[in-house]
């Protein structure tokens, strides 16, 4: 993975830079020792590692503003970091850049039940928000599997989602306001506790911008009342086609489940061996459909889903009769990644989205690719919204296997785009899928996106080398060539 060439003149000024940063963030907030910086050298995409030039851990928005302003003036690159759970290398440091860690921004600032909002600093964990309001029967809906660890600031940067997304949306649908700092040090507030912000929807653009546009220093999210009842159905199918058809039929019946997750045979077996959830082992696909809501509704819809499942050729149908049983159904799905980790020394977790009906085709093509690359693949996916997580199994100690796994992964993502889907559904582009962007977007599309970055960060200092396969200077992107035109289409109707 090629990263921007480190700027020797910046590296040469390291001592001076450290002093200047210490003047802004006193004491232990500036870390310079190699050993102490080790924890920051990678995020959850551990295949890539790089020590930063220095780590800065501010505690106030004012400090963030001063650090960014200084770096902007001095031409120093900045990589924001939350908990470092990114799976696409979004928080991977740069050799000549600082890591701006938001871990000390860990306070809940305001809980407002009347407006149904929580305002928190960006370093608060996703689960921390739910925990702060759970005793009153509320929760924060987007629930990435990493919710114990990942921060709400990181969730905004990645527009994270989870099992609940189908019904309750992603981060972007649940954030009402943020405070952020631009690279020039400007502090800007977008939105608040009201339902929509006015003017250009910059909050919408910030969400999912992977730390390239600004540093989030405060977040206001919407909280929801916990549903009265949750029940799940575990459905086994003889093929992925029948499973896929059943998913389509449930949606066609007007039912939007709280969660709808599918696993293929290798994933079912790995999970069952690991947690003994009682999954059927003779099926090709296993679907978990969870219904949540008012008790009467859930009971009514469970019946509908059972009926549809049988119509669509399910070979086994089990409905959870207790909260414990529902948790057992989920235990296997939730442990699917570590379970697969037990049957293979290493795996790569991919993350593409496809139109749901393409599922059988994509799974079949994956089987062919598996033979071609000589590697096994296990599949777990968010069936409701077509977000796939193929796990490619490999052994890093065997020469060539990592490369084969990466090639296999790239083939899968290109296929996702080919069938009308996208390269990433929730983990972000980061450095991982950066060079594949040309398969989804034209050069014109990509330049247009990069110009947007120029509005926020004209010098390109915030998290460069991520998301875009080619770095352009803003001046170069700004050029325009339009020849003097004729009045177009003389035959075009005019009034």
């Amino acid at each position: 993975m090629k990263m921007p060439t480190p700027d020797a003149s910046v590296l040469a000024r390291r001592a001076e830079i450290v002093n200047a940063l210490r003047a802004v963030v006193p004491g232990e907030g500036v870390i310079v020792e190699r050993d102490e910086m080790r924890v920051y050298e990678t995020d959850a995409l551990t295949a890539y590692r790089q020590l930063p030039m220095v780590v800065v851990l501010p505690t106030t928005t004012e400090q963030v503003s001063q650090v960014l302003k200084y770096c902007n003036e001095m031409g120093i690159k900045v990589v924001p970091r939350g908990a470092g759970t990114s799976l696409s290398g979004g928080a991977l440091p740069l050799a000549d850049g600082i890591i701006l860690g938001l871990g000390k921004f860990n306070k809940i600032l305001d809980i407002d039940y009347a407006n149904r909002t929580v305002t928190a600093q960006p370093g608060v964990t996703n689960l921390g928000i739910t925990n702060a309001v759970a005793h009153e029967g509320f929760y924060y809906a987007p629930d990435p599997s990493s919710q114990i660890a990942c921060t709400i600031g990181g969730n905004i940067a990645e527009n994270s989602g989870g099992v609940h997304c189908l019904k309750y949306g992603l981060t972007t649908n649940n954030v009402l306001g943020i405070e952020m700092v631009l690279m020039n040090g400007d502090i800007v507030r977008l939105g608040g506790k009201h339902l929509e912000s006015e003017g250009y929807d910059l909050l919408g653009i910030m969400t999912g911008s992977e730390g390239l546009l600004g540093v989030v220093t405060e977040v206001t999210v919407r909280i929801l009342r916990k549903p009265e009842t949750l029940r799940a159905v575990l459905i086994g199918f003889p093929s992925s086609e029948t499973g896929g058809n059943c998913v389509a039929a449930i949606i066609a019946a007007g039912i939007i489940p709280g969660g709808m997750e599918m696993m293929d045979k290798p994933a079912i077996h790995a999970a069952e061996e690991f947690v003994h959830a009682g999954y059927p082992l003779d099926v090709e696909a296993l679907l978990i459909v969870e219904l949540d809501g008012p008790e009467a509704e859930v009971n009514h819809l469970i019946g509908e889903v059972e009926k549809i499942a049988r119509e669509y050729g399910a070979v086994s149908v089990r409905v959870s009769e207790s909260e414990d049983e529902r948790m057992v159904f989920w235990a296997g799905r939730k442990a699917a990644f570590p379970a697969v980790g037990r049957i293979s020394p290493d795996y790569l977790c991919m993350d593409g989205t496809i139109p749901r009906k393409q599922l059988p085709l994509v799974l079949n093509r994956m089987t062919e690719m598996s033979e071609k690359h000589g590697l096994r693949v296990a599949n777990v996916f968010h069936a409701g919204d077509g977000n796939l997580h193929p796990l490619i199994l490999y052994d890093a100690n065997k020469p060539g296997e990592l490369q084969a796994a990466e090639d296999f992964g790239a083939d899968i993502l290109k296929l996702c785009v080919e069938v009308g889907g996208v390269l990433t559904g929730e983990h972000g582009v980061g450095v991982e899928k950066r060079d594949l962007m040309i398969h989804q977007f034209t050069e014109i599309d990509l330049n247009q996106q990069q110009r947007l970055k120029c509005a926020f960060d004209p010098e390109g200092l915030l998290n460069p080398g991520k998301v875009f396969p080619q770095l352009h200077r803003c001046a170069e992107l700004g050029r325009m060539h339009i020849h003097r035109g004729q009045i177009p289409f003389p035959d075009l109707p005019r009034f």
Binding site: L166, G192, G204, G386, V422, I482, L492
Partner: protein, 415 residues
């Protein structure tokens, strides 16, 4: 000479834009004209009429996705969705009658460009939350695309969000892709009568805090309830205020939730129900601002505030603007306000002063939705922005439309 360009397809639209750029002459983008009187008036010698860019290009009900060319009339799309028992869950507002035109004429491009969502906003989100992708023409004379057609997509910047609500000042949309959702099987409204604003806000908050999946929470005071034209609400004099909680979904579920809500809210006043037909009519009238349609001389404002602040903001406004009337949607978070035509500068100082009282991170803003051109030319139609945010917005405009060809000045001067 004024020119009205009406391209037949996206290629012709691209040529028209390239010509305008080369002439450095601004274009007024128009869909059907339903919201032309919304925003700041501005001078454009040429109109780019997108009404001929019509037609559905992709509709897969089981995938919950629909793509259409930008000029396709909304009613056409809604009819198609209804055949498949689906809908746009954001419940688009129809501003036609409020702004002195006909109902049912808006185009999907205009709907997306204005991001105007109806009462279901509290549950389902705004247009921007359902806007998955687009094909467009930039002010650099280039055709480009952004987003996609799948719900879960974090590949690159979420440009659809930026373009939703940009009032045609950033790009010419030629095709849009939206997420659609199943239409509810049935609907019913729980009504609590005769509450004052403050108690109504409490009732709506209780309902929205409950687990009963409320799909609309509005309060119309006695002075405006009759203006909705719903027989079941009674005459203006006898009907009294209506605080309405909407339920949607499967029959047995509605029955159950309606009962639970009656128990929950009964202590505040008499509880009644509006069954399906009157309920549909009530929310449509509320959505399309019907109480103010028949009072064309009054200025109309749309305020977005933290819901719990609603009653306080309106009480403050009434003190500052005698003779004004207001009703609430979104649990108190959306205020529709009518101001007497005599008010100085359409009452902008009073309106913005009342919102500003809250302070802190609460926020809020107001848009002047209806006023004569001369008034809209002299007051801030959209909420003024703090300097760093205004500067950032101007830089964002620059990236997509550097020559300021598209609707210049419609939102803010110089943007």
């Amino acid at each position: 000479m004024k020119t009205h360009l009406k391209p037949a397809d996206a290629d012709q639209a691209l040529e028209a834009v390239r010509w305008a750029i080369s002439e450095e002459t601004p274009l007024e983008l128009v869909g059907s004209g339903s919201k032309r009187a919304l925003g700041r008036p501005f001078q454009a010698t040429h109109t780019l009429d997108l009404a001929a860019l019509t037609g559905v290009t992709l509709y897969e009900p089981e995938e919950l996705v629909l793509s259409a060319r930008a000029g396709t009339p909304l009613p056409e799309l809604e009819a198609l969705l209804a055949e498949n028992r689906q809908q746009f869950a954001f419940e688009p507002t129809d501003f036609g009658p409020l702004l002195g035109g006909e109902a049912g004429r808006q185009t999907i491009g205009g709907v997306v460009s204005c991001n105007l969502a109806g009462p279901r906003r509290v549950k389902a989100g705004a247009v921007r939350d359902h806007f998955l992708g687009f094909q467009a023409i930039s002010g650099r004379g280039e055709a480009f695309k952004a987003g996609g057609r799948v719900v879960k997509n974090v590949t690159g910047y979420d440009l659809p969000k930026l373009v939703a609500g940009a009032y045609g000042t950033l790009t010419v949309l030629t095709e849009v892709t939206l997420k659609v959702l199943p239409a509810p099987e049935d609907t019913r409204t729980v009504l609590v009568r005769a509450l004052d604003d403050a108690n109504a806000i409490r009732v709506m908050a209780l309902a929205l805090q409950s687990p009963y999946e409320v799909a609309g929470a509005a309060h119309v005071p006695a002075s405006l309830a009759g203006g909705l034209g719903i027989e079941e609400l009674g005459a203006r004099e006898s009907g009294g205020a209506a605080t309405a909680i909407r339920l949607e979904g499967f029959g047995p579920s509605i029955e159950y939730r309606a009962g639970k809500l009656r128990d929950l809210l009964g202590g505040f006043g008499t509880v009644e129900f509006l069954e399906r037909e009157p309920s549909l009519a009530f929310w449509a009238a509320l959505r399309d601002v019907k109480p103010f349609v028949s009072q064309p001389e009054r200025f109309v404002w749309r305020l977005s505030v933290p819901p719990a602040d609603g009653a306080r903001v309106v009480a403050d406004l009434k003190g500052r603007l005698p003779g004004s009337d207001a009703y609430f949607d979104w649990g108190g978070g959306l205020i529709w306000l009518a101001v007497d035509p005599g008010a100085e500068a359409a009452g902008q100082h009073a309106v913005r002063g009342a919102i500003g009282l809250g302070g802190g991170s609460g926020g809020g803003h107001a848009t002047l939705v209806r006023a004569p051109d001369t008034v809209r030319a002299s007051v801030d139609v959209f909420h003024p922005q703090p300097a760093p945010l205004a500067a950032l917005s101007a830089r964002v405009k620059e990236t997509l439309d550097p020559k300021r060809i598209f609707n210049p000045g419609r939102m803010y001067a110089g943007v």
